[in-house]
Chain length 194, copies 2
């Protein structure tokens, strides 16, 4: 998210995101206020209100900050399908623990506040897809993924399955994620794995 | 949902659900109150409060009532995979129009109110799955679905993809649903369709 107004001090910026993430984990997004964040971070309320327009905006930035540390797409020279499988596992892992319920809270806030939805799509969905869609396109090139499947539809299914469990508060484990990956990979593989 | 308290008059019950659905369509669940429903339906507030514990509960019943009229699983003697494909199309169709955004609102309310989540799982998720899981099991029996796939995981992917579009406010069309079905059916088919 682009900083607004005067440049932020890196230290206080980090302290504010940390305080936000802690409050999200403890109480959830529905109970978050910018005032609580200011108190917890020892920052002034006016600073907070100058930098973030809403609780949705600050929650999104704190969550992105956390996700970017937890998720990374490091190419290992596998074919694209194998790389995609590794990525799915790391997403599922990141959604266990406290980040999962926070994501469910953000998705709920997106239904109440169109601005939070806009930030979610712009700052979270679009950049992730900009990384993964080329990987899937490479899979069609390298022959590991059959032609004719739309990369975006693969991602709607992938993230959809994860959101589904988060929203219904069903814990996911490796066996569940393996089952999801098995169906998806069989569904898109150029040569059936079965 | 089992009626609570004295038996409801069918006419006023139907009028209340109709008023609820109209309000959900017009203003969304976040703005719904039992008082507004009482006024719109010409019912007494005390009746409403006696029958439904929360806006989540009445929204769920009104939505279920609508969905049960829109969705039906009529066997046509196809193999189970073909029947499943038909069912997915009818779910996707039902989620277009006004029911989709209402479902997104209910999923959001489930994050705020554990009782709404409980009702959602008990009255919507569980009965649907009780219909569809045997269909998928029959598919494994009749050889159209490969053994080893978990019916519940197929449904997590299916409904997940639909929830994903609803929550991100991305309209779905037949081409998108065909793409989803193509991946899922290839992913679970005993003999690859590709």
């Amino acid at each position: 998210m682009a900083p607004v107004g005067r440049p932020r001090s890196d230290a206080s910026h980090a302290a504010i995101l940390k305080a936000t993430y802690e409050l999200l984990r403890e109480e959830g997004l529905a109970r978050l206020t910018l005032d609580k964040v200011a108190t917890r971070a020892g920052a002034s309320r006016s600073t907070l209100y100058r930098w973030w327009p809403s609780r949705g905006a600050i929650a999104m930035e704190a969550t992105l900050d956390m996700l970017n540390r937890e998720l990374s797409l490091e190419p290992k020279g596998d074919n694209a399908l194998a790389e995609f499988r590794r990525l799915l596992k790391s997403v599922a892992r990141a959604m266990r623990g406290s980040t999962g319920p926070i994501m469910a809270g953000i998705l709920a806030e997106c239904q109440r506040d169109p601005e939070t939805l806009r930030l979610f799509k712009e700052n979270l969905v679009a950049p992730r897809r900009a990384e993964v869609v080329p990987l899937l396109e490479r899979g069609i090139q390298d022959g590991s993924i059959r032609p004719g499947v739309a990369p975006h539809t693969i991602l709607d299914l992938t993230f959809g399955a994860i959101y589904h469990q988060l929203l219904l508060h069903v814990p996911t484990d490796d066996a569940w994620m393996d089952g999801v990956i098995d169906i998806l990979v069989n569904g898109i593989a150029a040569k059936p794995a079965a």
